[in-house]
């Protein structure tokens, strides 16, 4: 375990020194994420110009929800996103071999090797937006509830990563340079909207087999209505099952890897 921790710290150190070499890119990445936050906030601002409530939430609650999602997104962009971007390309070009021969878990190495130092700054910005949204909330949120919410947001980032990588792994069979990345990004938008706007099978799917609503929406819902341990257990169970599924899926994928480029 300590070996993996030391290795990860090396990844982080290396990423920071490299980010400083590409300063303009560092700046662009920060501005890009700010732009994303601004468009999402503007989206909800315009929507609330048309309606008083959306999925049972008023404007201030929707802002807390979406700023919670910004935290998930910033964590994902910082820790996982660069690695997810490279994974289909490595498989497609047959470059995965270099990672498979290393004396550490290939899944660990491929998922965490690139730490996006520039997006780390956006994590600070996202936290600022979250604090601003929380201060505008009509009801008071206790410290304990806030801490539990942030723990669920951390879990949401892990869940988001699990979903993302599960959509990329089919590249081992499809051999394209993208996997099902576009499908993931289309579905990931469901995580940016309140769970209660969906009904029927769609809503059930979004808290079970495609748990995008568990990333930020369900935690926000419990933050406003009071936490239920059943929700926490549900989110924990889905994440654990997702992780087990990923390990199985990754094993199957590696057995199909031919090392030939495409």
């Amino acid at each position: 375990m300590s070996r993996y921790l030391r290795l990860y710290l090396s990844f982080v150190r290396f990423s920071f020194s490299r980010a400083m070499e590409f300063r303009l890119d560092f700046f662009f990445r920060v501005v890009m994420d700010v732009c994303y936050y601004a468009t999402q906030i503007a989206f909800f601002a315009v929507i609330y110009g048309q309606t008083q409530e959306l999925g049972g939430w008023d404007r201030s609650q929707a802002f807390v929800f979406i700023s919670g999602f910004f935290l998930v997104d910033a964590l994902h962009m910082t820790i996982f996103a660069n690695n997810m971007w490279m994974l289909p390309i490595l498989v497609n070009q047959g470059d995965l071999d270099y990672y498979l021969v290393r004396p550490v878990s290939s899944l660990f190495f491929l998922s965490l090797r690139e730490f996006a130092a520039n997006s780390f700054l956006n994590l600070v910005l996202a936290a600022g937006v979250f604090a601003w949204a929380l201060s505008g909330l009509s009801s008071v949120v206790g410290v304990g509830d806030c801490a539990l919410y942030l723990a669920l947001i951390l879990n949401g980032a892990l869940l988001y990563f699990l979903l993302h990588i599960c959509f990329l792994i089919p590249v081992f069979w499809l051999h394209s340079a993208r996997g099902l990345g576009e499908v993931f990004f289309s579905l990931a938008r469901y995580a940016e909207r309140p769970e209660r706007i969906f009904t029927g099978y769609m809503r059930r799917a979004l808290v079970s087999i495609l748990p995008f609503s568990l990333v930020a929406s369900r935690p926000a819902q419990d933050l406003f209505e009071g936490f239920r341990w059943s929700t926490v257990a549900h989110i924990g169970a889905v994440t654990a099952l997702g992780f087990v599924f990923l390990l199985w899926f990754w094993g199957r994928a590696l057995r199909s890897y031919s090392s030939a480029s495409s």
Binding site: V46, R178, R193
Partner: protein
Amino acid sequence: MRPRLFAQVLSIEARKSMSYRIDFWINSLVGILAQFVLVYSLWASIMGAGGAKDSGYSFEAIVLYYVLVILLGKLVGSGYHQGEVSSDIYDGTLSRYLLFPSSYFAFKYAQRLGSLTPVLAQVVVLGLAYLLFLPHPDDVSPTTATVAMGCTSLVVASLLFHSLSWLVQLVAFWADNVWSLVVMMLFVARLLGGSMIPLSMFPAWSQGWLVVLPFRYLYGFPADTIMGRVPTEEWLLGLAISLAWVAAIGLASSAVWRRGMLSYSGVGI
């Protein structure tokens, strides 16, 4: 660039983009369906709660609007070439194109249109699915004339998108990695172009700005035109504004290209 060469490049690119057929159809169809279900759920929830009464759209009309925006958006702003110009500059591949006896801009535009040819088939299939399976709005009256006007707007929108994307990517002459700038442009274009929300729902103070900015003419304008929501005079004005943007961006791009070529080493990374 000669039309025959343009057509050849387009044809090669169309075949190339179909080389991973399963991947292509899954990514495109599921992506479009997912987007549609999302906006359908959103507006069913808003209108079910009595919202958007003064928006000027019935529920069926807003469904049609999003069907058009999603499908036409695939033709305007998708394709696999959004980062290729900057990559060519960054890794030095541009040198190869500079030796070609044709315009690099036209070559890339032909490639872009070629990659969109299979998307056209999807747009037709899904458009027919809409006509067959979803209820049609009573308050919207598309005619042959509005469809023709919308298609014209779509052609200009495609050129405008390519020009915008081109200008942004030319920053690669001075920056190492500009994909984040392209993504940023997409975020702004989706919001201010009416892809996320119809522009008529934006606050009154912003309407003047939305008309003069180029983004409206990428998504919302062609969709509203087809729906018959844009009077002929307004359509002509819109077309003139979007063409003026194409010309202005073209002039700016030429200046940036000339400056960029002076600093281009051709070495690449």
